[in-house]
């Protein structure tokens, strides 16, 4: 997948500065970078190494250990299907099937237009409303195969309009 994003280095500096260059904040710094680009562009890593005074291996190890960090580009809308136990017994798998059919991608993949990434997430803590998906920071509950498709369509229309 061709990926050309322009990194705003001022923003990156600002994020690192807001944690006062504290190496213990490495994960949170990467989360904040992710909030802007939906992933951590690998070009940023040497800067983190330099500014935080850590080894590149530590940055890679933290980035790959935690699920909230991705080093691959992700879509504008990250659709996360909750696969916690409560959602599982209420049919999360069927929701995932319906989304895979609708978006023509498999779990952990991103659409070619970089609009949607489909992920499975371990429990978003809305267990009473299962099955649940989150799209970026919005949560949608009480879903079935058809209502979940309607939700995705709404996000797609939002993007177009």
């Amino acid at each position: 997948m061709e990926n050309k994003i322009v990194i705003d280095w001022k923003k990156i500096d600002k994020i690192i500065g807001s944690y006062k260059g504290d190496r213990e904040a490495l994960l949170m710094i990467m989360q904040d970078i992710s909030d802007i680009y939906n992933y951590v562009p690998p070009e940023v890593i040497p800067v983190l190494v330099e500014k935080l005074g850590v080894k590149p291996s530590l940055v890679y190890s933290v980035a790959t250990f935690y699920k909230t960090i991705s080093l691959e580009p992700r879509g504008k809308y990250i659709v996360s299907v909750c696969t916690g136990t409560a959602c599982h017994v209420r049919g999360a798998e069927k929701i995932m099937d319906a989304l895979e059919d609708r978006l023509h991608i498999k779990e952990s993949e991103t659409t070619d237009d970089l609009l949607f990434t489909l992920e499975a997430v371990r429990c978003v803590g809305c267990c009473a409303s299962g099955p649940v998906i989150t799209v970026n920071q919005n949560t949608h509950g009480g879903l079935n195969r058809s209502s979940v498709v309607t939700i995705v369509n709404e996000y797609e229309n939002q993007h177009v309009s």
């Binding site: 850590v54 935690y66 696969t83 599982h88 009473a128």
Partner: protein, 617 residues
């Protein structure tokens, strides 16, 4: 509001807040803004409510409060109208004009919106009479519906920071620890270690001591910590400040999941307000005691709920646990004495200090005191958060509060303790839930997840589900956990796909015992529990999968097919209309036929049929 310099400043501030409330005495609409209700659209309801009130010129007379989680998440979004306590569940934005016109302006009820009990079919007008709430004892959760979590004033007005005042000025650190010991409070994260003893041990060790709040709620199916942090963050902070006084710590951390954005947001607001008013920072309430609390956001790793892994993560490293030859109360975060407690444990502390250890210890069972919040979810009629005294039976929780199993299906099991727990079958529904009782039947109370399963849940699939979860979440350091879980998962996957062999069950048991004995941390040692308890209580299901190549619950796709019962089918055509593959055909009012070649076993027809005419074979 400026900083409160001393005890009497807090007193008079609280009195002025109460007097203000007394003066205003206006109608109050409490709309739940928790994540559960949010998932059903609280945002839109709130916008529409504000607009409608403005349209009628009522914005001054009526206050709208976005409160914390009320607990009855199944029926969200929930609106409660005070002072009467009128309960309107499942509110949509289109309902708002009628609510404002009838209930707010004319004091009439909107009949179509009144809650109907799903079991008794009785119409219930007031929140306090709803059976879901009636049997609960909400000493921790009670204020959630009454306060706006972003308002420190609301918290102070309901008596918040009173316990802190007492701890700072009327008690010595030793007396605080003594009260916590006497209360019998045990760690709510699942371990059940006596909190007072942990505090006392940490206090004994020298160095810069840290206090840590574990809000890395990773158990799938459990969300009480999320709701406490989102709905009443100051309660947790107050508990932490009291703990810091007792332990002698001047720095604290809350480690909270990045996947809980609302909890992070509300906690950040709470920290800021608490600092502004002088409950945190230097010289708290003029007592000379200093404490700073920081937020650290976790990255979605289940193993980080383990204390040593959490502390590694706080230090900016991958969250891998270590062996606990030396406990974290001696050498933990940054190699210093560190006291870690779970969100709910911290939230219990102000209640104990305020009302006294004796009062607290009068609630619960002999060895498990106080209340526990459970996340009652899955195949149960009333899902949500339930706070009951320790020792309340599973039957009371699932049937009397939870309203039993929906759609007249049969109860099969309740899963407690998350991926470290087990599945408890029907014969043990009379057990009182506390730290010790559930251990006796091979499960554990854990952090409070309670997932109800009915006849359509396949227990082999559940075991496979948990191992799949744990395989992903294993940090990979030690062999027994990394390789053992993978091996067990391979066997279970084979069984679910119809490739199970004679001897598989025994092999699973043997592997399970090995993993329990030799893993490094709690994640590994408890990982086989879901498999071992399902084998113990549901061995027949395993045997049906292996020997008969059948999944009796209709979950494992290669092991069942659907059939139409020609006698039960009355030809209503509903299934044929819904089938996405057009696999069902038939004339109206005549039994339908299912083409197995076309059927993808999606289950839509099975869920939709009102006459039980779709059979699992």
């Amino acid at each position: 509001m400026t900083k409160l310099e001393n005890r009497s400043a807090l007193e008079s501030y609280r009195n002025s807040l109460l007097a203000e409330q007394e003066d205003e005495k206006k109608k109050l609409l409490s709309l739940c803004s928790g994540s559960g209700c949010g998932a059903y659209g609280t945002g839109k309801v709130h916008d529409s409510l504000i607009q409608e009130l403005a349209k009628h010129g009522l914005q001054k007379e009526v206050e709208v409060k976005l409160s914390g989680c009320h607990g009855f998440c199944e029926k969200g979004p929930i609106l409660v109208i005070h002072p009467e306590g009128i309960f309107y569940p499942q509110i949509k934005e289109d309902h708002i004009p009628e609510i404002v016109e009838k209930t707010i302006k004319n004091g009439e009820l909107v009949k179509s919106l009144i809650y109907k009990d799903p079991v008794t079919k009785e119409k219930i007008t007031h929140e306090k009479d709803v059976s879901f709430y009636k049997l609960q004892q909400r000493i921790i959760f009670g204020n959630n519906g009454a306060i706006d979590p972003t308002s420190i004033e609301d918290y102070i007005a309901v008596g918040g920071y009173k316990a802190l005042e007492k701890a700072l000025f009327d008690m010595t650190p030793e007396e605080i620890i003594d009260q916590v010991k006497k209360s019998g409070l045990r760690g709510r994260g699942g371990g059940g270690f006596p909190t007072g003893i942990k505090w006392a041990t940490c206090r004994r060790h020298h160095g810069a001591r840290y206090i840590i709040c574990n809000a890395d709620e990773g158990d799938p199916g459990a969300y009480m910590d999320r709701s406490i942090l989102e709905g009443n963050p100051h309660l947790v902070l107050e508990g932490m400040i009291i703990g810091a006084i007792a332990i002698g710590s001047n720095e604290g951390y809350v480690y909270v999941r990045h996947e809980y954005p609302l909890a992070v947001k509300n906690l950040a607001i709470a920290l800021q307000r608490a600092e502004e008013l002088g409950f945190l920072g230097k010289d708290i309430l003029g007592s000379g005691f200093d404490l700073n609390i920081h937020i650290s956001r976790g990255g979605g790793a289940f193993v980080c709920g383990e204390s040593t892994a959490l502390m590694a993560s706080l230090e900016g490293n991958p969250g891998r646990p270590r062996a606990k030859y030396i406990h974290t109360v001696e050498k933990g975060f940054r190699n210093n004495p560190s006291n870690l407690n779970n969100v709910e444990t911290w939230a219990n502390v102000p209640v104990i200090i305020d009302k006294g250890a004796d009062w607290y210890a009068s609630i619960g069972t002999e060895r498990s005191k106080g209340t526990k919040i459970f996340s009652l979810v899955g195949k149960v009629t009333n899902t949500g958060l339930v706070e009951v005294p320790m020792g309340t039976t599973l039957r009371t929780i699932i049937y009397d509060i939870g309203g039993g199993i929906p759609k007249k299906k049969k109860f099969k099991a309740v899963q407690t303790g998350g991926p470290s727990g087990g599945c408890i079958p029907e014969q043990f529904l009379g057990l009182g839930v506390d730290f010790d009782e559930l251990l006796k039947v091979g499960s554990m109370m854990g952090s409070g997840g309670m997932i109800v399963m009915d006849q359509d849940t396949c227990m082999v699939d559940v075991a496979r589900y948990f191992l799949d979860f744990l395989k992903e979440e294993s940090c990979g350091q030690c062999n027994p956990c990394r390789e053992g879980i993978t091996a067990m998962l391979d066997i279970l996957t084979d069984i679910c796909e119809g490739n199970g062999k004679e001897g598989d069950i025994e092999l699973l048991e043997e592997l399970g015992m090995m993993i329990q004995k030799f893993s490094l941390c709690g994640l590994g040692t408890s990982a086989p529990n879901p498999v071992l308890t399902t084998i113990l209580y549901f061995r027949d299901e395993y045997e049906a999968h292996i020997k008969d190549k059948k999944c009796p619950s209709g979950v494992c796709k290669p092991l069942f097919h659907y059939e139409i019962d020609e006698e039960a089918c009355n030809g209503c055509t509903l299934c044929a209309k819904l089938c996405p593959e057009e696999a069902i055909t038939g004339e109206k009012k005549k039994p339908h036929q299912l083409d197995l070649e076309k059927c993808i076993k999606c289950g839509i027809c099975y869920d939709a049929c009102k006459f039980d005419a779709i059979l699992i074979q």
